[in-house]
């Protein structure tokens, strides 16, 4: 593998972590080589060791981790033997890294311009006289509008996409030879993802840099990388060019990963491995309207506008008018139907789901659930309302939405206890076990706490809790966003089966158009608190009418050959 032109050459790398339960091998005997100017993707699910590999290359493993064996050669230097002070010189100047969750990756209380200056000065790329100019220049190169102003901004004043640009500016300020991007677009909107990825590609091409893109998204890697390394449980299972990986995946794991990746032209069952029982999903015949929303509006007062300004200010002045998070929404959800609510962050989809769950009072409009206007019931008294058990929610983060001190059993039993739906402890136990079986959670896991469960198991607990009271409507708020693709495939199939057997309706809030296509009958596209388009999933996603929908679809990564 190692060639004369390779910039980075990793041989037999093994990384170990000391934990309370002994030594854990996070990365086992891997070889990676990266040529000058090449873009390499490292793809794998959580726990595959892909991030640990990059930390080992940068030598920023945390205290418990160490390189147990192998060599890392970078531009002729043995990184595994280099001293810390040599590494400090290399990091940021010769090799840089950008991270997931850009807002957290920046110092929250330091002006972004100063953070860039810190790096420039550290590597003697700027003195006190020209540091500011060079920092502003770095901001300009990542295409930040009004860089002189942004120089003085704090990360909390900037959007997620903007923060990621700052992190990129920070990483590229000293013109390194190698850039490692660790899930750089996870958590960003698709259009922002596209802009950020294109910026990375453009800057690295322009400077002839080598790039390692670490991601869980095979489609994203195939779109932007020359070669792809697939990792599973700390080992490399396959290395091939992007075209090869998509056209002829050689390893079983790669095939499984590819299958589980939602993409156009397939059905839900196609996500599962071949050997899985593939009973067809029962078709559903949407019935009468279950939920009707008419002219729903949610306004928030703008901060800093005084009472006097509100009363006497010109009603047309946009600075004084309240902010409309949701602006005149009207739609219906039929019985047995699953409706997707898509849009980018800030489009009002979460506010809408909060209002439907009656956690938030609407400013105007009606929410008619099964013939009753629940919008008129104040949010604080809805918890005790007789309709409350019939609307349930599954949350985005399966970990954060479970009480860490409740066992899985207690979490699932919670709604049953609250609404007195069980008679006695035995009945409660029986019903929880039944629910666990329904969602495919092994019954012996019921007495475990959330931290003893995997992501997929926690998601199942969340779903079991939501269906415990046999609701008519379940609001699913990005229920699979935090899951690995193979787990997501299972959970999506489970949701579809449950809907068919229990006759529920879903409102599926998501930003992932591929997932929405698979699970939803109808799709509503939102932007700026309004509906820009709604219709059947096929119509909206294959023949979009609105420009904005087209823009969203165009922003999805397009792998070279979308063969399954």
């Amino acid at each position: 593998m190692a060639s004369a032109s390779s910039l980075l050459d990793v041989q037999g790398l093994t990384v170990e972590f000391e934990t309370r339960r002994g030594v854990v091998r996070a990365v086992r005997n891997i070889d990676i080589s990266l040529a000058k100017g090449e873009t390499l993707g490292i793809v794998g699910e959580s726990g595959s060791g892909k991030s640990v590999t990059s930390y080992a290359v940068m030598r920023i493993l945390d205290r418990a981790g160490k390189i147990a064996a192998g060599s890392i050669r970078f531009a002729g230097i043995d990184l595994d033997k280099a001293s810390e002070s040599e590494m400090v010189d290399l990091r940021g100047r010769e090799m840089s890294m950008i991270f997931q969750n850009p807002r957290a990756a920046l110092n929250p209380i330091r002006r972004v311009g100063h953070q860039i200056e810190d790096v420039l000065r550290q590597h003697a790329q700027a003195g006190s006289g020209d540091a500011r100019d060079k920092a502003v220049d770095a901001l300009r190169q990542v295409k930040i509008a009004r860089p002189e102003e942004r120089y003085d901004a704090y990360p909390f004043e900037l959007s997620g996409g903007m923060c990621q640009r700052i992190v990129i500016a920070l990483a590229l300020a000293c013109r390194p030879k190698l850039l490692i991007a660790d899930e750089p677009t996870t958590g960003l909107d698709v259009t922002t993802q596209k802009a950020v990825m294109e910026l990375i590609v453009e800057l690295t091409r322009e400077r002839g840099m080598s790039t390692i893109l670490i991601t869980h998204d095979l489609g994203l890697a195939a779109t932007y990388c020359d070669r792809i390394v697939v990792m599973e449980k700390g080992a490399i299972v396959e290395t091939a060019t992007s075209e090869q990986i998509f056209a002829r995946p050689a390893h079983d794991y790669t095939r499984k990963l590819m299958r589980a990746t939602p993409r156009p032209g397939i059905g839900l069952r196609d996500l599962l491995p071949d050997d899985a029982t593939s009973t067809p999903i029962p078709p559903n015949a949407p019935g009468a309207p279950l939920l009707t929303v008419r002219g729903l509006v949610k306004e928030y007062e703008r901060p800093g506008v005084g009472v006097l300004a509100r009363v006497f200010g010109r009603r047309t002045d946009p600075a004084v008018l309240p902010f409309r998070a949701v602006d005149g929404l009207s739609f219906e959800v039929m019985r047995g139907e699953s409706v997707g609510l898509v849009g980018e962050s800030g489009c009002g989809k979460s506010t809408t789901s909060m209002m439907l769950m009656r956690l938030l009072d609407p400013t105007e409009g009606e929410i008619i659930f099964d013939g009753e206007n629940i919008g008129a019931i104040p949010a604080r008294s809805f918890a005790a309302d007789k309709l409350r058990p019939r609307i349930q929610m599954v949350f985005q983060d399966p970990t954060d939405s479970l009480n860490p001190r409740y066992t899985a059993f207690r979490a699932i039993a919670d709604p049953l206890l609250r609404f007195g739906a069980a008679s006695g402890a035995d009945d409660l136990r029986t019903r929880c076990e039944e629910l666990a079986r329904t969602v495919g959670l092994p019954v012996d896991l019921l007495d475990r706490f959330p931290h003893q469960l995997s992501g997929g198991q926690k998601a199942r607990v969340g779903i079991a809790r939501a269906i415990a009271l046999k609701p008519d409507l379940v609001v699913l708020d990005e229920p699979t966003a935090a899951l690995d693709v193979s787990v997501q495939a299972l959970v999506l199939n489970l949701l579809a089966d449950l809907k068919a057997t229990l006759g529920m309706s879903y409102l599926f809030v998501s930003h992932d158009l591929h997932v929405v296509r698979l699970i939803c009958d109808r799709v509503i596209v939102m932007k700026g608190g309004r509906i820009v388009e709604q219709g059947s999933a096929e119509d909206v996603l294959d023949r979009p009418q609105a420009d904005y929908t087209r823009e969203l679809i165009a922003a999805l990564p397009h792998p070279p050959a979308a063969a399954a």
Binding site: D118, Y154, F156
Partner: protein, 337 residues
């Protein structure tokens, strides 16, 4: 900023009204009869009644209270029966002594505790980390009067390197001209190094006593807060961009770790005000703490009320400063409110 400042100042008014009412009531329900105390042990009941009348203590409580409030609004805290001086004058002359001692103790404690906490966090599990824990536990478990006496015994009595623990200055030195009331500062202003040294020598033992007592909470919170910040993602970014260890620890980690430390500082200061009373007794320090205790024993109401009020105001001002310094440390504070 001014708006925030005034807004915060307004919220302290109810607290002050409460302090005035409670300190008044507390002194009235305490056991002991002021009139009997001041009439002397040989006084006849008639004499005691006369004293009571002259002090206005025979009036109903609401009337006493309204007179007290009326006096307060004119800036009159009443007269001390033991010293015969207006309470305001007594407090004015004694408060700087207490404040100087408390602040000196706090600064000493910060100088040791913060570097200790940072080192313990950076070298987690090392010798320094264990030492930090041991020192902190020992410091908080020893009562201040015991530490004070121990220090006096060792440094004054046995080693004889410390001056006699008898107040702010030894008998041969004279106080510097008053500017701030803090002898350390005033002697520097007067360029009187001799007095400065003498003051420092007197301050050192009681200051260390207070510092040992307040070391524990500051060191522990610094360590915990640093550990939390050091595991955050932006520290990883800083490391990945090759910033030096010093920059990462001081500019990136410590500034972010400061908020909880500053919060604790407010609490520690109030502990110190309490501990001060005992330390002043041990070191014959002419501060407000010992003044208030003496007045309390003598059932002398006015100084006790004045003391409680002064402490309350001090505490409120301190918390105001802490609140405002949050905004200086963390730009997000101003944006969210």
């Amino acid at each position: 900023m001014l708006k925030v400042f005034l807004g915060r100042l307004m919220t302290t008014i109810p607290a002050l009204i409460g302090v005035v009412a409670v300190s008044f009531l507390l002194t009235r329900v305490l056991p002991g009869d002021t009139a009997a105390y001041f009439a002397g042990p040989a006084a006849t009941p008639q004499a005691v009644e006369e004293v009571r009348k002259s002090l206005g203590l025979d009036r109903p409580l609401p009337e006493q209270f309204s007179r007290y409030v009326a006096d307060l609004s004119r800036g009159n805290l009443g007269n001390s029966l033991t010293t015969g001086q207006p309470v305001l004058e007594d407090l004015k002359s004694r408060l700087p002594a207490s404040a100087e001692l408390t602040l000196f103790g706090l600064v000493l404690s910060l100088l040791v505790a913060i570097p200790l906490g940072i080192t313990a966090a950076v070298k987690q599990g090392s010798f320094i980390d264990h030492a930090c824990r041991a020192v902190a536990t020992a410091g908080v478990s020893l009562p201040v009067f015991f530490t004070g006496l121990l220090l006096v015994y060792v440094f004054y009595f046995i080693l004889q390197i410390s001056p006699a623990p008898l107040g702010r200055l030894d008998v041969f030195a004279s106080a510097p001209p008053t500017v701030t009331g803090f002898y350390l500062v005033d002697s520097l202003i007067a360029r009187d190094m001799q007095t400065f040294k003498a003051t420092l020598a007197q301050l050192l033992l009681p200051g260390i006593t207070l510092a040992i007592f307040s070391l524990a909470p500051i060191a522990r919170i610094t360590r915990a807060s640093m550990l939390a910040v050091l595991s955050m993602e932006f520290i990883r970014t800083a490391r990945a961009s090759g910033l030096g260890k010093r920059t990462i620890i001081m500019t990136y980690a410590f500034r972010n770790a400061m908020l909880p430390v500053v919060t604790t500082l407010g609490m520690v200061f109030s502990f110190l005000l309490g501990a001060n009373v005992l330390v002043e007794k041990v070191f014959a320090w002419p501060g407000v703490g010992s003044y208030a205790v003496e007045a309390l024993i003598a059932s002398d109401f006015a100084p006790v009320q004045g003391f409680v009020l002064a402490m309350a105001i001090l505490y409120i001002v301190l918390n105001l400063i802490i609140d405002l310094s949050y905004r200086l440390i963390d730009p997000r504070m101003g944006a969210t409110s």
